[in-house]
C-alpha cells in the first residue's frame, strides 16, 4: 500500500510503500522491485523500479513520470494498494573503504540507500537542470547541470578531470547509457575495475526466465539485467554494443 507520495521535483515522484517486515530491510542497495501499476490487464507487464531506500516495514522508490507505466503510478494516491514483487535482482557488492558515487539525472534514484550503507566520500551528480537534480541527504555532493542552474555548467564528465581516482576503493555509476559510457571512457583502467554499474533494460518477468532484458556482455553474449544484475561490474559489460542499442 502507498503510505506516502510526494512530487519532489517537477514530474519526479517519491513513493513509499508499506511492505510486510522483514522482507526488504536486508535488501542490499541496487536491488529492485516490480509494480503492477494498474489493476487492468493493460499495461500487461509489471514495471521495474530501483529501490531508493528501505526501512523495517517500508520501501521507497523515486521515479520520473515519463511514459505510460510511470504516468499511471504518478496519479496513484496514498492509500492505494498495488501488487509489488521484490526485492529482485542482485545489488551492489558492499566492499569496505571509501566510495565515489556518480549519478546522471534520475540515475541517482537508487543512491540514498547506498549512501546510507557504505562509506560514501563523494557524490558527483549531473543533470540537464536543477529540476532534474535529486538531493541525497548527508552526503558530500558536487553538482553540475547542462544549463548551469545548479553547480557548474556542463556535463558530468567535466567534473571527472579533478577526481583523485586512487582515493576510492569502490565506485558506483548510474545514469543514461551514453552518460555512463562517457564516464567509463574517461576513467583510468584501475578505476574502471572497481566500478559497479546499475543497469536498466526493458524487462519482462524480472526473475531470469524470459530473457527479455538483455545487456551486452563483454566478450560476447548477453547478461540478464534482472537476475545477473541489475548491478554489474563495469568491466563485464560490452559498452560499444550497449551504447549502440540506444
Amino acid at each position: 500500500m502507498i503510505i506516502e507520495k510526494e512530487e519532489i521535483l517537477p514530474g519526479v515522484y517519491r513513493i513509499k510503500f508499506e511492505v510486510p517486515a522483514p522482507y526488504f530491510i536486508e535488501a542490499q542497495p541496487g536491488r529492485f522491485i516490480q509494480l503492477e501499476v494498474s489493476h487492468d490487464p493493460f499495461p500487461v507487464t509489471r514495471r521495474p523500479f530501483t529501490i531508493s531506500s528501505v526501512s523495517e516495514s517500508s520501501v521507497e522508490i523515486v521515479f520520473e513520470a515519463v511514459g505510460r507505466g510511470t504516468g499511471i503510478l504518478a496519479e496513484a494516491d496514498a492509500g492505494r494498494s498495488l501488487r509489488l514483487l521484490g526485492p529482485l535482482g542482485s545489488g551492489y557488492r558492499l566492499d569496505p573503504g571509501k566510495w565515489l558515487l556518480i549519478g546522471g539525472g534520475l540515475g541517482a534514484a537508487g543512491f540514498p540507500g547506498l549512501a546510507a550503507t557504505v562509506e560514501c566520500d563523494l557524490l558527483l551528480l549531473g543533470a540537464s537542470s536543477q529540476d532534474k537534480l535529486l538531493t541525497i541527504r548527508e552526503t558530500e555532493t558536487v553538482t553540475i547541470t547542462e544549463d548551469g542552474s545548479s553547480g557548474r555548467k556542463g556535463l558530468i564528465t567535466d567534473l571527472l578531470e579533478t577526481v583523485h581516482w586512487e582515493a576510492f576503493s569502490s565506485i558506483a555509476l548510474c545514469g543514461p547509457i551514453p552518460m555512463m559510457k562517457a564516464v567509463i571512457d574517461m576513467m583510468p583502467v584501475a578505476a574502471r575495475a572497481i566500478t559497479q554499474v546499475s543497469a536498466e533494460a526493458r524487462m519482462g518477468c524480472g526473475w531470469g526466465a524470459c530473457e527479455g532484458c538483455s545487456v551486452p556482455k563483454a566478450g560476447g553474449g548477453f547478461l540478464k539485467c534482472c537476475s545477473d544484475g541489475p548491478v554489474f561490474p563495469a568491466d563485464s559489460i560490452d559498452w560499444e554494443r550497449w551504447e549502440g542499442i540506444h
Binding site: F42, P43, V44, G208, A209, C210, E211, G212, S214, F222
Partner: protein
C-alpha cells in the same frame, strides 16, 4: 472440495488443466524456489536447440497499448548444457516438465530429441515449428503441412515420449497443419504461437525491435485462440493445447469448452509468477458455483 476435478493428458491425471507456456517459465527452477508452481499441471521449458543461441539483440520486449511484442530469438544454452545442468536440477520439480524443441532445419528436431531421450526427466516434448523471431525454421516450417508432417514423423520415429506440435497462426492453415501433425504421429497440437506483430515510431519511421517484427501476445487475443482451438479440435482427434490470451479463470474454462484438453498461460505469467495457483483457485470456485 476440488477432488473431483481431474484433467487427463498423455495418460496422466492432473488436478489442474494449466500448463506454463514455453519461454515464460524458464525450466521452472526459479518458480519452484518461490513455491509458484502450485496449480500448474506441467511446465513447458524455454526452447532448446542443438547449438547454444545467444538470441536477438535488445530491446527484446516492447510493450504496445494492449499487449506485448517480443523478439527473444530462442536464446538458450543448447541441448548439451540443458542435459548437463538444467535437466538434473529440474528432476525435483513438483510437476512434470515438457521440453520445447526448436530447430533451423527439419533434421534438427529429431537430433535434439534424440539427445533429450538420454535424460529421464522430460515428460514429453513440444515441437516448436512456429517461432516468429528467427531467420531459419520458425514460421516457415509451421506454415507448410508437408513439413509439419515430416517433422512429426521424424520425431515420432525417435521419441519414446509423447509430443505436441506448436503451430503458427501467421501463415498457412492452422487446421491443415494440425491434421498434418496428427498424420505424422503427433500426440497433441499447441494452438498456437504468438502472432506476428510490429510497432513503428511514426516520428522516426523506425521499429523499436531490431528485426522489425516480433511475436505479439495479449489478453485481447483470446477470441482468436478460441476460434483456432475450436476449429483444430473439430478437425483432429489428438489433444489440443490452447495457448494465447489467458489471464482469467473464465478464459481457461472457455478454452476447455471450445475443445482444448489443457490450457497454457504465458504472457500473464510474466505479470503474475504465481498465476497458476491464482487461476486454478478461481477456476475451481467458478466450477463450484461459489463467488
Amino acid at each position: 472440495m476440488d477432488k473431483p476435478y481431474k484433467w487427463t493428458f498423455w495418460k496422466r491425471e492432473f488436478t489442474s488443466p494449466i500448463l506454463l507456456a514455453s519461454g515464460t517459465a524458464g525450466f521452472g527452477l526459479e518458480l519452484m524456489e518461490q513455491g509458484f508452481l502450485t496449480g500448474a499441471a506441467a511446465v513447458i521449458s524455454k526452447a532448446t536447440t542443438l547449438a547454444p543461441r545467444e538470441g536477438n539483440p535488445p530491446p527484446r520486449i516492447v510493450e504496445t497499448r494492449f499487449g506485448l511484442l517480443n523478439s527473444i530469438g530462442l536464446a538458450n544454452p543448447g541441448v548439451d548444457e540443458v542435459l548437463d545442468t538444467l535437466l538434473p536440477q529440474a528432476a525435483c520439480l513438483p510437476c512434470p516438465l515438457i521440453i520445447n524443441v526448436a530447430g533451423e532445419t527439419v533434421e534438427d528436431f529429431p537430433a535434439v530429441i534424440e539427445r533429450l531421450e538420454e535424460s529421464p526427466v522430460p515428460f514429453g516434448y513440444e515441437v516448436n515449428v512456429s517461432c516468429p523471431n528467427v531467420a531459419a525454421g520458425g514460421i516457415a516450417f509451421g506454415a507448410s503441412p508437408e513439413i509439419v508432417e515430416r517433422i512429426s514423423t521424424l520425431v515420432k520415429s525417435i521419441s519414446s515420449r509423447p509430443f505436441s506440435v506448436k503451430l503458427t497462426p501467421n501463415e498457412g492453415s492452422i487446421v491443415e497443419s494440425a491434421k498434418a501433425a496428427e498424420e505424422g504421429g503427433a500426440d497433441a497440437v499447441t494452438v498456437c504461437n504468438t502472432f506476428l506483430g510490429m510497432k513503428v515510431d511514426w516520428r522516426t519511421g523506425k521499429a523499436p525491435l531490431k528485426r522489425n517484427v516480433g511475436g505479439y501476445s495479449s489478453p485481447a487475443l483470446l477470441p482468436l485462440t478460441v476460434a483456432r482451438v475450436f476449429k483444430t479440435s473439430e478437425a483432429t482427434s489428438i489433444p489440443v493445447l490452447a495457448s494465447g490470451g489467458v489471464n482469467r479463470a473464465e478464459d481457461i474454462l472457455e478454452l476447455l469448452a471450445a475443445g482444448a484438453a489443457m490450457v497454457q498461460v504465458g504472457t500473464w505469467l510474466l505479470r503474475r509468477p504465481d498465476a497458476a495457483r491464482e487461476l486454478r483457485e478461481s477456476m475451481i470456485s467458478l466450477l463450484e458455483g461459489s463467488p
